[in-house]
């Protein structure tokens, strides 16, 4: 897909999202409510209308070939970029899914193993050191110092002894 095609596709997609937002806002009152001023939906409704107009302007400019993107016939994303960005975004999705299933600390462990060993091709020493240091650092900073419990899912019981130590 060229940059030119992407420009049009994204503008159309954003225009459709704007229409969706307008419909969603119009579920509430968008007119003047006596003694209460503009209805709850008015502000987002008119903003989304503005978004739609901005997208239409981009589409018109695309047809008139005004913007640099509308005349750019380079690839929007080269195969190499898709791979680089895809691995990163994919590995974060993996991190989040494993967090839901097994808890964040198991997820961090596996995420670092994957990223450092298989993407970065670092030595086992670097990989294992990071796999130990980073989760401990995150635990100390967030759970111990900030008192923000991170999601642990089914791995929660593993932390009971540590909680005992922390809160005793």
């Amino acid at each position: 897909m060229t940059v030119r095609t992407a420009e049009l596709l994204i503008a159309i997609l954003l225009a459709l999202c704007s229409i969706g937002l307008m419909i969603k806002s119009a579920e509430l009152r968008i007119d003047w409510v006596p003694d209460r001023g503009p209805g709850s939906g008015a502000w987002p409704f008119w903003l989304s209308t503005g978004m739609l107009l901005a997208c239409l302007a981009t589409i018109v400019r695309w047809f008139r070939k005004v913007t640099p993107e509308s005349t750019n016939l380079d690839l929007f994303m080269t195969r190499e970029t898709v791979l680089l960005v895809g691995i990163s975004a994919g590995s974060i999705v993996f991190l989040l899914v494993v967090t839901h299933l097994l808890g964040i600390y198991v997820a961090l462990f596996l995420f670092l193993l994957f990223y450092l060993k298989f993407v970065g091709r670092h030595s086992w020493l670097v990989t294992v050191t990071m796999m130990i240091v980073v989760p401990i650092f995150i635990f100390c900073l967030f759970e111990w110092a900030l008192k923000i419990p991170l999601p642990k899912s089914i791995s929660e019981p593993l932390f009971y002894p540590i909680y005992d130590l922390m809160y005793s």
Partner: protein, 507 residues
Amino acid sequence: MEDIVLHLIGGLTEAMQPLNLTMIIAGCTLGLLIGAMPGLGSVNGVAILLPITFLVPPTAAIIFLAAIYYGAMYGGAISSITLGIPGASTAVATVFDGRPLAQAGHADRALTAAAVASFVGGTISVLLFTAFAPPLASFALKFGPPEEFALMVLAFATFIGLGGDDIPKTVFSILVGLVMASVGLDIISGQPRLIFGDIDGFLHGINFLVLAIGIYGIGEMLWTLETTRGEVMVHKVTISWQRMKHNCKDIKNYIKTTSMGSALGYFVGTLPAAGATPASLMSYGLAKTFSKDPDSFGKGNISGVAAPEAANNAASTGSMLPMITLGIPGSPTTAILLGGMIIWGLRPGPLLFTENPEFVWGLIGSLYIANFATLLINLAFIPLFVKILTLPFSILAPVIYILCVVGGYAPTQTMHDVWLMLLFGVVGYLLRKLNYPVAPAVLAIVLGPLAERSLRQSLLGSHGDVSIFLTRPISAVCIAIAVALICYPLVQKLQKRRRADTGTGTG
């Protein structure tokens, strides 16, 4: 004047408290590192690290974040000079002459000039800040909802008029940020709004940090990954006491351009759409115009390093002026600071000076100390920073992703927000590839609730009569400037076309 001096002394004393001083030193050091790393700038650092400031009281927290902001402006020069890659967009202009100097073996000379110029820029701008902030805040106390709304319209208009980006895309970015801010319970009627797919997570709204970390954490890393391919090449820096002494003698060669750049940077920095990047580029242009030897610029002129560095530091302080006095952030970084202030339970705007003087003056005092601390840390640890820059990207990237995920979870403690953050990061990255500016959206999501409230209060007061914005003098002036700013690109275009027509007509 006497009052200001007394308050300033109080502020300096507050900033010298052990906790605050530690925060300044930690913030400056971290800021230097963050600024030096390609792909990370002050805005990324502040967005990713804001959640951890819940650990300390608000004054210490803002001092820490402001020190990061400050340090990052210094740090950007380190990678511009040694790697030839700007550490942040604010240090782009520093590459023009910094890189040729490093290639010629004068990296230390360029680094010293950058540090000294940043210090001068910081000092001049903090002095200007101290002088301007209190009168501006007391003037802003007269503002009612119509003035507040008009001021926000003005802030957004600067993006359209001066942002230099594609106008429809800028407008889209502003509006999408405002719409995102309206998700959740309506501030006046309490009705749930825009709850997509009846997902409960949307009931508490979209936290600005989710968007900020998404765009400036994940999106930025993806962007950096694409542009640098994870590879960097470091120039060698040789530093000795002898060379340092020689470099210090160099100062007289660039002190004039530095002072000029500082004043320019400060004023450009106060404008919401402008900020440190255009300030540094303008300062570079100015230094070149006024130079006796303009041809040497781009080939390793030391003033070409000093001018943009002075301006970007001055601009970072400048952008805090509207944030503290008017509650309107002057840059994406200050937008995040403003959001942080709301989380800490403070009300940004002119009342801060009367309601929380120790907070405001503590911050101002800390700027003086941070400026000095950063200069010392920078000069003392340049070799160390350069060493850290050689850290492979494949180690840095996962650590930043993890900080983003955990930082996105911390404010609301729901996984819903983390998924949303990832979505914003990826979408933000794709839109950025198509030249959609992302900074207006971040500013808009922070200002959104305030803008809506002031608009609805104004309309309620005037019984739906929109002329209220034009009949009150201050708001009328703001709206008039906003309209002029919005029309400015159109006028420019027409002029260009007319010039082209006459050009072809005569030629």
